[in-house]
């Protein structure tokens, strides 16, 4: 059985799954129950400056039958007295010596304030500290959270203050509300932080109530932007994770990265690990289903690792990262075409309409006699299930015209029905970078491009 334990910048935990700093880690009692459910660690909900919260602080994006495709919140950092938090941190750590307790902190941008909070956290026996540079609402208006994370110089300065007194590992948590995520990460590297975590929540407005015209959620007739998280943000998080791994400064620094942003299942978790995260944080999925999801996170990941032959988490961290590159490095000769498995096809024609209306018009409807037919080619007087099913045209890709865009594959509701079949390239391998270097005129001039296409036999209809 795979070994799921990790050592993240010196913080050890029996599995890579930590609760992110958020409502599920608001109190000692909650974290006790989380550890009973199998969580490897917990990042205590941010302690620091005094706050007051409001009602209707969580909004959710419902889509189809998915109740919480994303969540947003205007909840602030912990609103419990700091002494209570510190006492409970110490109690939980004493009770669970094998689990990771990381304490998230956020105070005003004063060296003395940071020195003080770091010392008080260390006195609890916690395993690490996470610097919250990410909170995008409320705290940022007071010059904290993302107001720091969005200015690399502030990140660096505050991190330096922290490192002056830190005796336990320090993780810098980044905000995604920034043009280039590598910049604040480089600041963390420069300041000597021990690790990075990302992503915090995204700025978002959840919507407008069409009955009342109020902002949703409604806070006494008002509403505003809040932090957006959950399954919908996962691709954004993965992109930012790889941006750090590929960055010329952050990558070589080998600073471990704690990944988060929409992790709901062990599959999500494995993807974060493969793209360079070496610990994982989860919040929204717990807010939806509770602590019990830890069991399948661990079980599923372990079974998958066994199947794939990964003995330890370290074995798979970053394994897929080298495959990430820019467009200019893609092989332009690569060719795939869509092929529909007629045995599996249920004739919903979603691929047909997607290709016809939104892609390259290369899927045909073929009737029983093999003729290409238009939609609704049936007679007005015909009806009944037998007729409707038996006269339904088959949906066939005109392979010579298919550009392999993969839209049909994406809309098909049937597992493994449409295959993107890789075909032998009909021209030598070349990237845009190589082409533009070798034939700069082709990259600059449409006529030259046409000539190049003719020469290479590239036909775009």
């Amino acid at each position: 059985m795979a070994d799921l334990s990790i050592n993240f910048a010196g913080i050890k935990s029996p599995n890579p799954f930590w609760l992110a700093s958020a409502p599920p880690t608001n109190s000692g009692a909650q974290i006790h129950r989380a550890f009973e459910a199998g969580w490897g660690g917990a990042v205590w909900k941010t302690i620091g400056a005094p706050v007051l919260n409001v009602s209707n602080r969580y909004g959710a994006w419902r889509y189809g039958n998915e109740k919480m495709l994303a969540i947003n919140n205007v909840e602030l950092i912990s609103d419990r007295p700091i002494e209570v938090n510190l006492r409970e941190i110490a109690e939980v750590k004493r009770a669970w010596p094998d689990r990771a307790i990381i304490v998230s902190a956020m105070v005003e941008s004063e060296a003395s304030a940071w020195h003080d909070i770091i010392r008080r956290i260390q006195d609890t026996g916690a395993d690490g500290i996470e610097l919250n540079y990410g909170c995008p609402h409320g705290m940022s208006e007071r010059g904290m959270g993302s107001a720091v994370g969005q200015v690399p110089e502030y990140c660096e300065q505050i991190t330096r203050w922290v490192m002056e007194v830190a005796k336990i590992p320090v993780i810098v948590k980044l905000t995604p509300n920034i043009a280039d995520i590598a910049m604040p990460a480089r600041a963390a590297v420069a300041a000597g932080a021990n690790a990075i975590s990302l992503i915090n929540t995204l700025n978002s407005i959840m919507g407008v109530d069409l009955n009342t015209l109020e902002i949703s959620p409604n806070i006494a007739g008002r509403g505003g932007h809040g932090g957006y998280a959950g399954p919908a943000v996962k691709p954004i998080a993965l992109n930012m994770l790889t941006a750090l791994g590929r960055d010329s400064v952050v990558g070589p620094s080998r600073l471990p990265i704690s990944g988060m942003g929409g992790i709901c299942t062990w599959r999500d978790a494995a993807e974060f690990l493969l793209l360079g995260a070496s610990s994982l944080q989860v919040c929204t999925a717990v807010m939806h289903y509770g602590f019990r999801i830890a069991e399948d996170l661990c079980d599923g990941l372990s079974n998958w690792m066994d199947e794939k032959g990964f003995a330890t988490i370290a074995d798979l961290v970053g394994r897929s990262l080298p495959r990430v590159c820019d467009f200019k490095d893609f092989d332009l000769s690569f060719k795939a075409i869509a092929r529909i498995d007629q045995e599996k096809c249920i004739r919903c024609e979603l691929c047909y309409v997607a290709c016809n209306d939104a892609a390259h018009q290369c899927i045909d409807l073929i009737d029983q006699e093999g003729r290409v037919v238009l939609p609704a080619a049936y007679k007005e007087r015909s009806n009944g299930k037998v007729t409707a099913i038996s006269s339904r045209p088959t949906v066939v890709v005109r392979e010579e015209d298919c550009v392999g865009c993969r839209l049909c594959f994406n809309v098909c509701p049937v597992e493994n029905c449409i295959e993107m079949l890789e075909v032998t390239p009909d021209r030598p391998s070349i990237t845009w970078e190589e082409l533009a270097h070798k034939n700069p005129e082709v990259a600059a001039d449409w006529e030259q491009m046409e000539r190049y296409r003719q020469k290479m036999g590239i036909c775009i209809h």
Binding site: C348, L350, A376, G384, K385
Partner: protein, 441 residues
Amino acid sequence: MDGNRSPRATPPPLQELLPPLSNQEAVSESARCLMCFDAPCTHACPTHIDIPKFIKKISTGNLLGSARTILESNLLGATCARVCPVQELCEGACVLGAEHKPIAIGRLQRHAMDYAYGRKIDIFIPAKPAGKRVAVIGAGPAGLSCAGELAKMGVSVTLYEKRQLGGGLSTYGIIALREPMDIALSEVAMIQRLGVRLESGQEVGVHPTIAELQETFDAVFISAGLGRTPLLGIPDEHYILDGLEYIEASKLQPSQLRVGRNVIVIGAGNTAIDCATVARRLGAEQVTMLYRRTENEMTAYPHEYDFVKHEGVAVSFLTQPVRVHLERGEVKALECVRMTLGEPDSSGRPSAKPIPGSNVVLPCDQIVKAIGQNKPDLVSRLGLRTENGFISADADFQTSSTGIFAGGDCIRAHGAASTVMAVQDGKLAARSIYRKLVNHG
């Protein structure tokens, strides 16, 4: 006290079987729809309602648009949502049906229809008067559909109905379990609000005559349905109740309907199943359906047969009534003969032949027959060309007499008759009549 949480009282025995979907159920079910392009459910529907379109509108909360989408193709969408054999039509063609559960199209349609009728929303406004007058004979589904479609196009329509209430079989002949009477009657009222004048209690042929109608109107549409239940031709047959009247009584005056303790229903079609269901639900201890052929030949839909079996109704196949046994003027038993199947007859089904000496006496205290309906009564009086006793109509629903059109069950010489087919006939006939009268096409 919260009604939903209180212990459920036993529902009235003939209350509509399927409860309405809650809004959440409807939105959730509609979100399951794949939104097939050029969808097979739409093809399978005889009126070709754009089903993915109305379902999508439910999922977005556009129930008014959903109702309009349905009614544009089928003015009797509320009836069809309830009585259509969806397993054989839209839901039977659902691409999710093969390996998953098809979308509950009928119940979603009912959800959208309930929204419109519940809020008394009139979807259509008649076009400006076209200066033409059409008489429609028979206010069943075909007649209502034709009248309503013509009225939408600005044609002045008078609808003649021999019964007191409009709606035809939807009002009188479909058990309340499937369609409560008020649904059919609200559709009749909707058609009337489109400007159609309903003349009920008027039997065309008696008063007015067809000739009188032809003088007053530019065209006549006959949607007279079918006739009475045929005779079995056995002794003391008048002690046997008529199935359609049995169902009618269960709708009009359920408290007055006397149901036996041990009931025999002759027939194995959908009406027979409805009669058996009524008998069972209103207290019969034992209900047995008799059919002279076997399960393979019965005309009831498979899902209806499954349903009635769950209701606790027995079916005796290869059994044919011979005579009614009476005691002091009351039904005591039905004597039957066992049958065997032979060569196919003119209907294409194996013929049923009695086995000599196989008579059995089945005790019972009530007998109901539901063995189909006779050919339309009106036909013989009109002198129109017929086919197998049904009115003969061409692809434009034109009969052998210029200006007289016909549709619905009275022309259904081939294939199974159904409400939704009648609605489609009415719709297409309306277009054809309009084309001929207004566009001279």
